[in-house]
């Protein structure tokens, strides 16, 4: 049964247009149902938990409580690493600390029992059921495309909250991406922080973070980076021109991981707004599709 409560998060409606469109496309294809939480609100990342401890837990708990009320039997899915981290933290504390739960329930004015899990889309698409369903729908494999899978920090850490078994070299995204026929490279900055949390208030300080990540991906032969978070995605690609000027950072397209799957499933470019990326991706994608077709003919 592939049904989940869905917490879209603020970016999904705006800057993460490609992510949202491709996510919806893939879900349609494999028959996965996402029920958007009715009346969801911003989880508060990245300011609420910085400024006030209870607020940092209550804001995500408010959405979670609504999800629990509307869809008591569904786990909660979210596509953004920051939202995932905040929602999961709130759920974790409410589940394990009765004192926190009391505070939170009083604050949001609703009961919240934290019965269901918070999941990110890597967990969800990484299940055997989803993997099989996706495998069946792949129509045009992307041959020879070298992909660096970027997890970011909050999708895997802290271990006590996320429960991720491997925080240095996770492989879930690689497993999913390899369905599309693309080759995942082995690289070393999968789970390093991109500084997305401070992209406005500490721009100068976070620049080098993006630089080293992109450099390592390119050095290991990647043609593109895929992410599982709209914030990481934007932070890695939006200022590439600027980084090129300052550090000489190479330019590289950055996709949401669902985009590659959607393309491999045969999605039209417009359907998933592939041209909305800051760095032109059409060439490498077209090349990969062509190589895929050739391999098919042979």
């Amino acid at each position: 049964m592939m049904k989940y409560s869905f917490f879209p998060g603020c970016s999904m409606g705006s800057t993460a247009k490609c992510y949202r469109l491709s996510l919806e496309y893939v879900c349609r294809q494999i028959g996965m149902d996402l029920y958007e939480i009715d009346g969801w609100n911003c989880c508060g990342a990245t300011s609420a938990h910085v400024m006030n401890e209870v607020m940092g837990l209550a804001l995500p708990a408010l959405s979670l409580a609504k999800a629990e009320k509307n869809f008591p039997h569904l786990d909660i899915a979210t596509g953004c690493a920051a939202c995932y981290s905040r929602l999961k933290t709130a759920a974790h504390h409410c589940k394990n600390d009765a004192g926190v739960r009391y505070q939170v329930e009083k604050t949001i004015g609703m009961p919240y029992e934290a019965k269901r899990e918070v999941l990110n889309f890597m967990d969800i698409f990484g299940t055997e059921e989803a993997m099989t369903a996706m495998q069946e729908k792949i129509r045009r494999p992307l041959k020879g495309l070298k992909v660096a899978c970027y997890y970011g920090c909050l999708n895997v850490r802290p271990a006590a909250i996320t429960g991720a078994p491997d925080r240095e070299n996770p492989m879930t995204m690689e497993n999913i991406i390899s369905l599309s026929g693309a080759d995942c490279i082995d690289w070393s900055f999968k789970t390093e922080c991109c500084g997305g949390a401070h992209q406005n208030d500490a721009t100068t300080e976070t620049r080098p973070l993006v630089d080293v990540i992109i450099r390592n991906a390119v050095a290991n032969g990647a043609q593109c980076i895929v992410t599982a978070c709209p914030l990481c995605n934007m932070n890695l690609e939006m200022r590439q021109k600027e980084y090129e000027r300052i550090f000489g950072t190479p330019r590289i397209p950055v996709f949401a991981f669902t985009e590659l799957i959607a393309i491999a499933m045969g999605a039209h470019w417009n359907e998933i707004a592939l041209d909305a990326h800051y760095t032109d991706a059409s060439k490498i994608i077209a090349e990969a599709i062509r190589a895929g077709k050739e391999a098919d003919v042979k």
Binding site: D166, R167, E168, D186, W187, S188, F189, R215, N216, N220
Partner: protein
């Protein structure tokens, strides 16, 4: 009627300032059985003891209570004193009015009250004390040494030189242990093989030493002076009685597998010696690699052997031998770091190696004949990073302890790199540099003068970029992040106990700590003894240490063994359990309780009226019983009593407190 004497000690002012000792002595006079009481400044002193002895004679005492410091301090002293009197040394009780009274209380009135209570309890107990006598058990004058590393070799040689027979058991096909793998030893830089191989040869030629390689301990029975040990001699598939060690089989064997001795950096044939200087210098077949033994298709060595030594039908043999003492010298291995440190690549980078792998690389008899070459492409590295405390001092991922030798061999590695590779750059990441040993600090100093760079900080991550291994660390003295582009990284990984130590410890009845290091009987005063009589330890099996300490400890263990074996028999503590056979029902419950397997069930003949009938009763082996008393409590009929701590003695103590 018993005649008890009570002696209250002032212990200078230690007791007297918080306890009114005179009042205690006065009160003691009213206790049942007490005929005499007095106080003295220092009961344990020469005049104090003389006074007690005199009083015993004069007052015709038959048991005494001494109110003084803890019995753990002077019980033995006073028992020795009583040996020269008419009183049995076990007709003595000590009331602890110092550590558990005067030192922990301030209110003199209450402390005195408590001291009186304690004295009364001791008097009540001593009234029920019985004279006890030590017994003696014979000693088998042979020693077993488990482990053939430098610790085991040294211990075996020392014991054998003293004239006692020794059996040295080693699980590998050659003795030599880890020291045989090393290139040079710090701080003198003498060649490890040059100083250890002569000792190995001595072992093989010593008339008093029997060497059992490829052997493991199967089971251990018996007790101090009389151990029965079963040893499994694993099949060697080569008849060592006729083999001359010509080495023909070794050179022709077509099967090559990864060499454990070379730490995975080279290959070895399926038949052969562990290494060139192996002792015994004769080959064995590795049954997990030999094609003939796996699928029956080869047997080349058997065809080639000029003497026909190869026997594919060879089987494991079990031998049981008697020993008087056992030395545990099972040593260590390095921690499996790959799983624990994904941030260091988790083993995927070939040029991230361990200290022991480096030893093989730099060793003239190693796979690269002493040239330091990168395992990945056999080129000479120019920049080498040494990381200390990998797995050590890391309670989350590895071990909480310090592995003690790494700082020094890390410095040695740095020195060797700078010595062998002109223009090389060595960066050592450290948290602390620990050099507590003779000439150690000087060696470290020299290494820095040689040009080794020491950066204080632990490396957070190693990753590969453009063919270089980039080590991210913090120079914590500058509080700046540093990224060193290295060609090779040496991890000085933690020492962990050898595999199987827990099973062995279980067989021997000795304790290991939560890491698996064997626990000594006392960390300071009995460092080579274990809690089981007759079992001694030496070397790294007790905890990480370097070669000088290991050899010193091996000598110490040997001297303890020699001391034991020089005796023809030994005395045992009389404070052990005793069965009242007339009451014993033979239920066998105590047998299960005893941690020392000291209790067995036996059939005895009892007279019942005119008839003699068989009856099953528990029998206690005085050599094995350690006097814990667990069986007492388990005994349903109450027929087992722990001498010195009998049920009625403790009950009397309880009663007298509540008066």
């Amino acid at each position: 009627m018993s005649r008890v004497g009570v002696f209250v000690c002032h212990c200078g002012t230690n007791i007297a300032q918080t306890v009114d000792v005179e009042r205690v002595a006065e009160a003691a006079k009213s206790f049942p059985g007490v005929v005499y009481s007095s106080t003295y400044k220092y009961m344990c002193s020469e005049p104090g003891q003389a006074m007690i002895k005199e009083t015993i004679e004069k007052e015709n005492l038959d048991r005494i209570v001494i109110c003084s410091c803890t019995p753990r301090m002077h019980e033995v002293t006073f028992r020795k004193m009583l040996k020269g009197t008419k009183i049995n040394p076990y007709q003595l009780e000590i009331a602890n009015i110092r550590e558990q009274c005067s030192w922990v209380h301030t209110d003199k009135e209450k402390a005195t009250e408590k001291a009186i209570n304690l004295a009364r309890m001791s008097v009540a107990k001593v009234l029920l004390n019985e004279p006890l006598h030590t017994s003696s058990i014979p000693i088998t004058k042979r020693a077993l040494v488990i482990g053939g590393g430098i610790a085991g070799i040294q211990a075996a040689l020392d014991i054998a030189d003293a004239g006692h027979e020794v059996v040295l058991v080693e699980k590998e096909s050659s003795i030599g242990g880890k020291m045989a793998m090393l290139d040079k030893t710090f701080p003198t830089l003498d060649c490890s093989a040059c100083i250890s191989t002569p000792k190995m040869v001595d072992v093989s030629q010593h008339p008093n030493i029997t060497l059992m390689t490829s052997s493991e301990i199967e089971s251990v029975g018996g007790y101090v002076g009389n151990f029965d040990v079963t040893i499994r001699q694993k099949a060697k598939y080569v008849n060592h009685d006729i083999c001359t060690g010509c080495g023909l089989c070794e050179t022709k064997c077509p099967t090559k597998v990864i060499s454990e001795f070379n730490q995975g950096l080279a290959k070895r044939p399926a038949i052969g010696k562990m290494y060139a200087q192996a002792v015994p210098a004769k080959p064995v077949i590795d049954p997990n690699a030999c094609r003939k033994l796996i699928d029956g298709k080869c047997g080349l060595c058997a065809k080639l052997c000029p003497l026909g030594c190869i026997n594919f039908e060879d089987e494991d043999k079990l031998v049981t031998e008697k020993f008087g003492a056992i030395v545990v010298a099972t040593g260590y291995q390095l921690i499996e770091w790959g799983e624990l440190y994904p941030e260091y690549g988790g083993g995927k980078y070939k040029d991230v190696i361990t200290g022991l792998q480096f030893e093989r690389l730099v060793n003239a008899s190693g796979p690269s004949e002493g040239h330091i070459l990168r395992p990945s492409d056999n080129t000479e590295p120019k920049t080498i990073v040494i990381i200390k405390c990998v797995g050590s001092r890391d309670p989350k991922k590895g071990k909480s302890y310090c592995s003690r030798a790494c700082c020094m061999y890390g410095a040695k590695h740095a020195h060797q790199i700078l010595d062998k590779i002109p223009g090389a750059k060595v960066v050592t990441f450290y948290i602390d540099v620990r050099t507590p040993g003779k000439n150690y600090e000087e060696f470290y100093d020299n290494t820095r003068h040689d040009g080794a760079i020491y950066v204080r900080g632990r490396v957070s991550k190693i990753y590969e970029e453009d063919g270089k291994l980039i080590c991210l660390g913090e120079d914590s003295l500058l509080a700046r992040k540093v990224a060193v582009k290295a060609d090779m990284v040496v991890l000085e990984t933690a020492m962990v106990p050898a595999v199987g130590i827990r099973e062995l410890a279980g067989m021997l009845g000795i304790a290991v700590d939560n890491h698996g290091w064997v626990t000594e009987a006392h960390p300071k005063l009995r460092p080579v003894e274990t809690q089981t009589g007759g079992v001694f330890l030496c070397g790294v099996c007790q905890g990480p240490k370097d070669i000088p300490d290991t050899v010193a400890q091996a000598g110490a263990a040997a001297s303890k063994v020699i001391g034991l074996l020089n005796k023809d028999s030994m005395e045992t503590s009389p404070m052990i359990s005793k069965v009242d056979e007339s009451k014993c029902a033979g239920c066998g419950f105590c047998v299960k309780m005893c941690p020392y397997k000291a209790i067995t069930l036996e059939d005895i003949d009892v007279r019942q009226g005119p008839k003699t009938v068989k009856k099953t009763v528990a029998k206690i082996n005085g050599g094995l019983c350690q006097g814990c008393g667990a069986c007492n409590v388990a005994c349903r009929t109450g027929c087992i009593e722990l001498l010195g701590f009998k049920n009625n003695q403790i009950l009397e103590e309880v009663d007298s407190l509540c008066l």
